[in-house]
């Protein structure tokens, strides 16, 4: 049993001394919120992730129920907050919209996802 404990401690020390970097970027929260219904059409979609993003390889788009894009085509990672991805929207009519994102965290792990939100009068 003592040898097992020694092995575990040794491994922990070895691992602790090795380079540690980021991880997969999970969507932490969004504005508008995932699955939400809003009365005021948002001017932009903002996505906060759990890890800093690689701006050149992180993107988002927003489409309406017929699949037409309703964003302004300007997705960008916020320079001051590298975990924040945002995109501007065209004026939205009442309806259901889908946010589709795909991001690369700074340690080169790709994650992707989508969600919807609704705009009502």
């Amino acid at each position: 049993m003592k040898s097992v404990s020694t092995a575990v401690v040794t491994l922990a020390i070895l691992l602790a001394g090795t380079t540690v970097a980021g991880a997969h970027a999970f969507l932490e929260r969004a504005d508008p919120r995932v699955g939400s219904t809003v009365r005021t059409p948002p001017a932009q979609v903002r996505l906060w992730f759990t890890e800093p993003l690689e701006p050149a390889f992180s993107s988002v788009q927003v489409v309406n129920e017929t699949g037409q894009r309703v964003d302004k085509g300007d997705p960008h990672v916020d320079p001051a907050t590298p975990r924040l991805l945002r995109i501007s929207l065209q004026p939205l009519a009442p309806g259901t919209y889908k946010v589709i994102w795909r991001v690369l965290s700074v340690d080169a792990h790709v994650t992707e996802g989508d969600f919807t939100f609704r705009v009502t009068r």
Binding site: L15, G22, A23, V34, S36, D107, A108, V110
Partner: protein
């Protein structure tokens, strides 16, 4: 088998092989993250370390505590290997406690179907328990056992809108046959001999999980704060059904309800071990696991497969 059938089979395999997309490291299929389950081996090849998996259960033979370690490494984007060892401590009534390692286990796994749209994965694996590498006093067999198996995983993110609250559900499972290299063992005492038969055993089971992270990031943000926003309630069902050698159909198994918390670099799981019948035991046990995502922790060392790249 006709030549046409053979050619058709080869063509199907070729189409499947060509359609395989490299997996994105541990447990991801499209937008779905599958956690590593504690009892049922999941269908993914990955760079991961389970250290330790600790279980405790009281059986009619005594109290058993296991300390298990497993290391997995991707060789290519879709093929990986693993090595597993368990330190076993047995305390039987009226006997001196026994401690020792079980047999060394090694395995290989190949992901041959991966559908991001349908959150589906299929893998084939072969596990080898190397006989004679463990201590006989804690139950390690003197012979080897090989277990080919089919692994599967399916997320339900493609369910229709009216039942969108079920989209965070996913199932993973395994179906395999343990093939011992020895049919029976004979133990000879002074005035008697005892024969122990080693049947082929169907090993099957599945895990049903409901992902809170999936609920909040894909379906509806219900506002659950940390640590609940990273929790995945799970129930695992694991069964062993002997197929022959006088023990056919005598299924044993456990039901294991619990919780997995999956963070950025590691996950923690805790489950109860509930025997399904008297043959499987009469007492409830417990299993816990600390599981590291090595590709996230040490991307320069474990961030990629040995060959072929891929994240």
């Amino acid at each position: 088998m006709t030549l046409r059938t053979l050619l058709a089979g080869c063509a199907c395999i070729l189409v499947l092989a060509v359609s395989v997309r490299p997996a994105s490291a541990h447990g991801f299929v499209g937008k779905r993250f599958f956690p590593a389950t504690l009892v049922i081996d999941d269908p993914f090849v990955a760079d991961e370390l389970s250290l330790p998996t600790v279980s405790y259960i009281k059986t009619p033979d005594g109290k058993e505590t296991d300390f298990e370690f497993e290391f997995s490494k991707r060789i290519t984007a879709n093929f990986g290997v693993s090595v597993n060892e368990t330190l076993i401590r047995l305390i039987a009534p009226g006997q001196t406690p026994r401690t020792g390692f079980g047999n060394l286990e090694m395995g290989g796994k190949y992901q041959f179907i991966l559908s991001e749209v349908h959150e589906t994965i299929l893998s084939l694996g072969l596990d080898a328990e190397i006989g004679g590498t463990g201590r006989k006093a804690v139950g390690a067999d003197s012979f080897s056992t090989f277990t080919p198996a089919l692994f599967y995983g399916k997320g339900f993110g493609d369910l229709p809108e009216p039942v969108s609250f079920l989209r965070p559900l996913a199932v993973t499972g395994v179906l395999g046959v343990a093939l011992p290299t020895k049919a029976k063992s004979v133990t000879v005492t002074d005035d008697d001999s005892e024969i122990e038969r080693h049947p082929h055993v169907l090993q099957w089971g599945f895990a049903i999980e409901y992902s809170i992270p999936y609920l909040q990031s894909v379906v509806k943000d219900v506002g659950l704060p940390a640590p609940f926003n990273r929790m995945i309630p799970v129930i695992e069902l694991s069964f062993q059904t002997p197929l022959d050698r006088g023990q056919g159909g005598k299924t044993t198994g456990t039901v294991n309800p619990g919780i997995i918390w999956a963070g950025q670099f590691f996950q923690i799981g805790l489950e109860a071990i509930i025997p399904i019948n008297d043959r499987s035991g009469k007492n409830v046990g417990v299993i816990g696991q600390l599981h590291f995502f090595l590709d996230d922790l040490f991307p320069k060392i474990f961030g990629r497969p040995l060959f072929g790249g891929g994240a």
